[in-house]
């Protein structure tokens, strides 16, 4: 960094080279005066050396490196890169995000060609008609005499079939054009909905009014969204409104002032269930909570259906997260509240209290299987020396440096193979 040898930098910052080495590899934390000293020696802003709000950026950069042969030495310098070239790093991260979105579109498109019943039926119809035309026309074109009666018959068949072919191909083009205009954003519906909530800051003032209409709000928010995204958004808005009715803002403010971001206290005060109290805490406007809280909801298959990431606790946009998260553990023991103090291994600087519960997602019915969904509230905690155990968890395996992990499902790009 900055063209200075490690030993020289250590000397300038008045620490041993091996200690500096540990810091560089994130095995020792850095703070206070030492941070300022090193930043001064490197002639950079101290903030550019810290693992602050850049978590999401770094995550994206690591994702970008996932499928490349980038040497390990380069990978280890991802934070240095983000610190020194914040503009370029943000650009690369943005490109990575777009590549992911495009990959999803390609998958959806491939899927469509094989599984779209309308498309398959239209092509089948066209091929059948073409076959009939080809057979009949080659009979007519072949040398040799054909009785006039047969000639007339095949001529008529070709005429009929060509009219049919014209109609089928016209309707196929119409269908393809409609499908095209349906999803102008070209991204996954879940992504579209995520963006709506991100833009709103997860708080929807219009729905806090007890007489608010969900349809009116949907109309306001769904401009430019695909049908599938509108469907997802409607479900989320219905839920939001229900939660807001049960736990009005003034009640939430009172509970939070007394108990902080405690979903149990809110559930208790509002006679609500713990999962909806978690959702409500994640929806509160800035100002009520000291620090915003994060939320992940997944269904019984483990697929994330709602995500509110935090700067220091990112949630993967694609696929599932770390199998060690209480979010998934809760599915194995429904109705039990799991609470853990966790540290994401990629971001060793931040502690979070995560609280998870799996609840039935609908009212149980006699003799019927009940579907469960799991909620996990993520509450940032001030870092302090504690003797309580802190659980090491990851974000997703590919970018997790934890070398010995029972929950690993694919190799990491950060660990030597």
């Amino acid at each position: 960094m900055a063209g200075i040898k490690q030993s020289e930098l250590a000397q300038r910052a008045d620490i041993s080279p091996s200690y500096l080495n540990l810091i560089e590899h994130n095995r020792r934390r850095i703070g206070g005066k030492l941070l300022v000293d090193i930043a001064h020696a490197l002639d950079v802003e101290p903030t550019s050396l810290t693992e602050g709000a850049e978590t999401a950026l770094l995550t994206n950069l690591r994702e970008a490196a996932t499928n490349t042969d980038l040497p390990e030495a380069e990978l280890a310098r991802v934070e240095e890169f983000a610190g020194r070239f914040p503009g370029w790093a943000a650009l690369l991260a943005e490109y990575q995000r777009r590549v992911e979105t495009l990959q999803q579109s390609v998958e959806a498109l491939t899927d469509r060609l094989t599984h779209d019943p309308h498309l398959a039926a239209s092509l089948h119809e066209m091929l059948s008609t073409v076959t009939a035309i080809r057979s009949a026309s080659s009979i007519l074109a072949e040398p040799g005499d054909i009785e006039p009666e047969w000639q007339r018959r095949f001529n008529r068949n070709i005429y009929e079939d060509s009219a049919r072919l014209a109609e089928t191909s016209r309707s196929l083009v119409r269908y393809l054009e409609e499908a095209e205009s349906e999803a102008p954003t070209n991204s996954a519906p879940q992504d579209e909905m995520d963006r709506v909530f991100q833009k709103l800051g997860f708080h929807i003032p219009q729905l806090e009014n007890p007489h608010a209409s969900v349809d009116a709000v949907l109309g306001e928010l769904s401009d430019g969204l695909s049908h599938a995204a509108q469907w997802l958004l409607l479900r989320a808005l219905d839920r939001y409104r229900e939660d807001a009715l049960r736990m009005p803002l003034d009640l939430c403010a009172r509970v939070v002032a007394k108990s902080g971001s405690d979903p149990l206290a809110l559930a208790d005060a509002a006679h609500a269930d713990v999962a909806s109290a978690m959702r409500r805490l994640a929806q509160l406007p800035t100002g009520i909570l000291k620090q915003p809280v994060g939320l992940a909801i997944c269904d019984g298959s483990g697929v994330t259906t709602f995500r509110k990431p935090l700067p220091e606790f990112p949630l993967p946009r694609l696929g599932a997260g770390c199998a060690l998260w209480p979010l998934y553990k809760a599915l194995a023991r429904p109705m039990m509240i799991h609470a853990e103090r966790v540290e994401q291994s990629t971001r060793a600087s931040a502690h979070h209290l995560v609280i998870a519960i799996a609840q039935p997602s609908e009212a149980p019915k006699l003799g019927r299987d009940t579907l469960f969904e799991s909620h996990m509230l993520i509450v940032p905690e001030a870092k302090h020396e504690t003797s309580e155990p802190v659980m090491q968890v990851g974000l997703s395996c590919r970018i997790c440096p934890q070398s010995e992990c029972k929950a690993r499902r694919e190799p990491s790009i950060l660990v030597a193979r």
């Binding site: 089948h124 059948s128 076959t131 080809r134 057979s135 009979i139 095949f154």
Partner: protein, 122 residues
């Protein structure tokens, strides 16, 4: 007596064209358009060669072929399958179901004629 071909296909104009070229070549051509009772028709007609479309109303050509192969009287009947989908996995399904020849639409008349002749002489 001329040899008999049974054509099971639901597209009338394809039936007409194939019937014409095979009849002209000296075959007796019988046709049928429904999948549901196709197996019974095959047992009744006892053709020398069967041409079987995959997409039929009532029952798929694959299922019909599997039933025929399970029947000792028809386990050796030469079968040519026709499909509008030429993906390798369709060919695989057809071969596993026990077809002797496989042709994707749009096929040429000459190919159909030649394949039927080859199958009959086996």
């Amino acid at each position: 007596m001329s040899k008999q071909v049974l054509l099971i296909e639901d597209e009338p104009n394809i039936i007409e064209a194939i019937s014409f070229i095979l009849s002209r070549d000296g075959w007796t051509v019988k046709t049928h358009s429904n999948g549901a009772d196709a197996v019974d028709i095959v047992r009744e007609r006892q053709p020398d060669v069967l041409i079987l479309d995959v997409m039929l109303p009532g029952k798929s050509g694959y299922d019909i072929l599997r039933e025929l192969r399970g029947d000792p009287a028809n386990s050796d009947l030469p079968v040519l399958m026709l499909t509008a989908r030429g993906q390798s996995k369709d060919r695989e399904i057809a071969e596993r179901a026990g077809c002797d020849a496989f042709m994707t639409k749009p096929f040429s008349n000459a190919d159909v004629l030649e394949t039927v002749r080859t199958l009959a002489s086996k």
